[in-house]
Symmetry: C2
Subunit: 216 residues, 2 copies
C-alpha cells in the first residue's frame, strides 16, 4: 500500500491517522505541492484532480479522503473507525463530512490562491475568509459533538473514529490561520486528547519525512 | 421519514434521487432558503449547520448528504447504490466526493454571497468563479468516468449509483451558471440518460412543491 501525500495537506494527514489507527503499514511517496508536483502528467495519471492524498493498492489508485476512509474501513474492519449502530455511524460520517465538505474545501491552498488572483484579495482578507468558514463550521461541530454526549476525549463514543481523524487536521489548519479556539472547548479538548495517542501524534505534519527541517 | 430541503438545493436534489431510487416513501418539509428559514432557531435545532437537507427518521435528525446516502444504503440495501466489489465502491464514492467536497461547496449560495460581501465581487466575477471550479472538477470527473468504462448511461457500471445522484444535480448547477459542457461529453450523456428515469426526473427542482409556479 502506497500513500501519495504532502506533510501539510490536511487530507493526507487524515489518511495517515487512519492507517496508523488500523496499524496498516504503508510506503510514503511525497508529492511536493510547493513545487507543483501535483500538476505534472505523472501525478495526474494517478489522480486526474491533481489533489493529494492518493492511496495506491494493487490496481486501484484512489483519491478523495472520504472514499479512502470507507475503503479502508471495508477492507480492514479492525479496529472499527465507525460505530456499530446505524445512528452512530451516521453521526460520525456527518461530523467528518462537515469538515470534508463544508470547511476544508473553502480554505485549501488552491482556493485561497484563486481568491487572490480573481478578486485581488490580500493576505489579511484571505485569512479573514478562512477564519469565517472555520469558525462557523466549528460552532456547528461543537454542538453536534456535545449532542453526541462526548466527554472531551473523542467526537463520538469511547474510541477514535473517522470524525476524530478529520477534526485533528482541521484544528491544525485553524491554528495556522489563527482562529480563536476558545468558543470550542470540546473540540479543543478532543484534539489535545487525540494528539496524546501515537496514531495521531505520529501523523502530525512536522514529523513527516517531507517536512522542512526545523530552522532550515 | 421526513426530508427537510429546498427545491433548488443540489444537496437536497441528491437525496430526493436516492429516496426515489430506493422507493422509500417520505414526507417533504420545505425550508425556504430564500426567506432565511434555515437560520431560524427551529431549524438550527434540527441541524446546527443551518444547511439542507436534513433527514429525520425516528430519533435521528441527520445532515450532510454523503452521511445520509451511506445511512440509506445501510438501512435500505436494495437496490444497492454502490457496486458490490470494494474497488467499484471506492470509485463511486470517489466520484461523489469529487462533487460533494471539491465542487459544490465552492458554489453554494452562502459562499457566493460571502464572496460578494468580503471582496466586493460583482455578478460576473462570481459567475466566473463558479465556472472555474465546476469546469476544473468536471474535467477530472470526465476522466474518472471514462476510466471506469462508462458507456454514457451511468458513471459506473450498468445501473444508477450514488455517483449519478451527485452528478445530475451538479449538471443542473452547471447549466444555471452557463458552464460550457461541450468538453464533458460523457457527463452530458449520463445526465441526459439518467433524467429519462423517473427516479431522477421526478426529483428535478422544478417539479418540487416548493418551486415557484412557472410564469409567476
Amino acid at each position: 500500500m502506497k500513500l501519495y501525500g504532502y506533510y501539510r495537506s490536511s487530507a493526507s494527514y487524515r489518511i495517515r491517522i487512519l492507517l496508523n489507527l488500523k496499524k496498516i503499514s504503508w510506503e510514503f511517496e511525497p508529492v511536493m505541492l510547493n513545487r507543483g508536483e501535483q500538476s505534472k502528467a505523472e501525478f495526474l495519471e494517478r489522480n486526474p484532480t491533481g489533489l493529494v492524498p492518493v492511496l495506491e493498492t494493487g490496481k486501484l489508485s484512489l483519491g478523495q479522503s472520504l472514499a479512502i476512509a470507507e475503503y479502508l474501513e471495508e477492507r480492514y474492519p479492525d479496529p472499527a473507525l465507525l460505530p456499530s449502530d446505524p445512528d452512530g455511524r451516521a453521526r460520525v460520517r456527518e461530523m467528518a463530512a462537515l469538515i470534508a465538505c463544508d470547511t476544508h474545501p473553502l480554505q485549501n491552498l488552491r482556493v485561497l490562491n484563486h481568491l487572490r488572483s480573481s478578486f485581488g484579495a490580500d493576505d489579511d482578507a484571505v485569512a479573514e475568509w478562512t477564519r469565517h468558514w472555520i469558525g462557523r463550521n466549528f460552532a456547528a461541530l461543537e454542538k453536534l459533538v456535545a449532542r453526541s454526549g462526548s466527554d472531551g476525549r473523542f467526537c463520538y463514543g469511547d474510541s477514535a473514529t473517522m470524525a476524530d481523524a478529520w477534526l485533528v487536521p482541521q484544528m491544525y489548519n485553524a491554528r495556522r490561520f489563527n482562529v480563536d479556539l476558545a468558543p470550542y472547548p470540546l473540540l479543543t479538548s478532543i484534539d489535545a486528547h487525540c494528539l496524546q495517542l501515537p496514531a495521531f501524534s505520529e501523523a502530525v505534519p512536522e514529523r513527516q519525512p517531507d517536512a522542512p527541517v526545523a530552522g532550515s
